[in-house]
Subunit: 194 residues, 2 copies
DNA sequence: CTCATATTAGTACCAAGTGCTAATAGCGGG
DNA sequence: CCCGCTATTAGCACTTGGTACTAATATGAG
């Protein structure tokens, strides 16, 4: 017979993690054991019942929602902003942001934080990035907090352009510098083909 | 007597919106009516029961979570790769990648695709981006497929440096150009799984 | 074979409901 | 004052997805 109580329990854990909305009965079909066995497994693994799992997820989002809504599409949390002048955001580097091998953050996360901030600092919400130059000066690793400071260094409202410089640092040490040429999409002006 | 059926229902709506985790019984205390009245009210207002409300919130977050995860590893699907020479990937722009207002893809996704590809084309997996210059030539919208072509244009193995140029296009039309200066983290390459 | 563990079955019970029927309250109009 | 109407309340059966517990049965290892 299938001896794999351990395997089943591992698979069970994975399965529930992947889809917390699954009932014991569905699981019992999936693993071809009785519902009771699933229940025993859950007890041993200290996995709560469906409703508690769902509630947990819901509570989490509900709490997050308050935080994430105002900033919506921004990577990193905006701490301070002075429209058309400067802005500041922080981004905590977590394991999912880094290369597995050396724990160094992938460049596009730093870029995303800086670019989001550059977009946010513009007085228009519909700002697009036209050009940018980046320097990745020091590697950033998981667990570090990156503070990005954006500054509008040149503004040409008549041409719908502005230049934003973003400097990101970890504990006072500069890790990234980017300059962004931004385009303001006032009204429906399409085709920013440059 | 309190005539306010309408007021109560309005208050009920607000109350549930503010805290979806409240049971009918709690509501019946809050409004000093019977549980049945609360139920009738919910029916009239088409407000689902507690569990369904919670589930709804949970599903919403869960989907968001899955969506926001893929900014993890390689962005875009690598179609063809010739190490140290060139590589090609495609990236389908989906609703979650664009600004809600004008459906234009956020810059960091294009960057992420290009940067990921630049990293991938390097013979080392532990390649870091040092500098880069980007041009966002045309807006890309949801539903479009971005094809990125990376080419190693200069290689200095002795200095552990290489320059990669990435050109991204949608239907033959160039939308993005980026040049990346990459740094090889050679070290002594260990077990190369992944 | 025997013993422990694993699994299954079955029962009672719970929370938070739905769905339904029926009783009652309150009040306004004729 | 009674009629009729809506609003409210009560009560019961049933549902989901469980918990808690007991008991029976497999199954495998020593």
């Amino acid at each position: 017979m299938k001896r794999p109580k351990k395997q089943r329990q591992q698979a069970l854990k994975d399965s529930i993690k992947e889809n917390p909305f699954v009932t014991d009965e569905e699981l019992s079909n999936e693993f071809d054991v009785s519902v009771q066995t699933i229940r025993l497994d859950r007890m041993e693994l200290a996995i709560p019942e469906l409703r508690e799992r769902i509630k947990h997820v819901a509570v989490k989002t509900f709490e997050d929602e308050v935080k994430s809504l105002p900033i919506d599409e921004v990577i990193g949390e905006i701490i301070d902003i002075e429209l058309d002048k400067k802005a500041l955001s922080i981004f905590d580097v977590k394991p999912e942001h880094v290369f597995q091998r050396n724990k160094i953050a992938r460049g596009h996360h730093l870029f995303a934080q800086a670019n989001s901030l550059a977009v946010a600092v513009m007085n228009e919400e519909l700002a697009l990035t036209v050009k940018s130059e980046l320097q990745f000066l020091r590697p950033v690793t998981a667990g570090q907090r990156v503070v990005a400071k954006a500054e509008v260094i040149e503004s040409h409202p008549e041409k719908n352009r502005a230049f934003v410089k973003v400097v990101s640092s970890v504990e006072q040490l500069t890790v990234f510098i980017g300059t962004f040429e931004m385009y303001r999409m006032t009204e429906q002006s399409e085709g920013d083909t440059e």
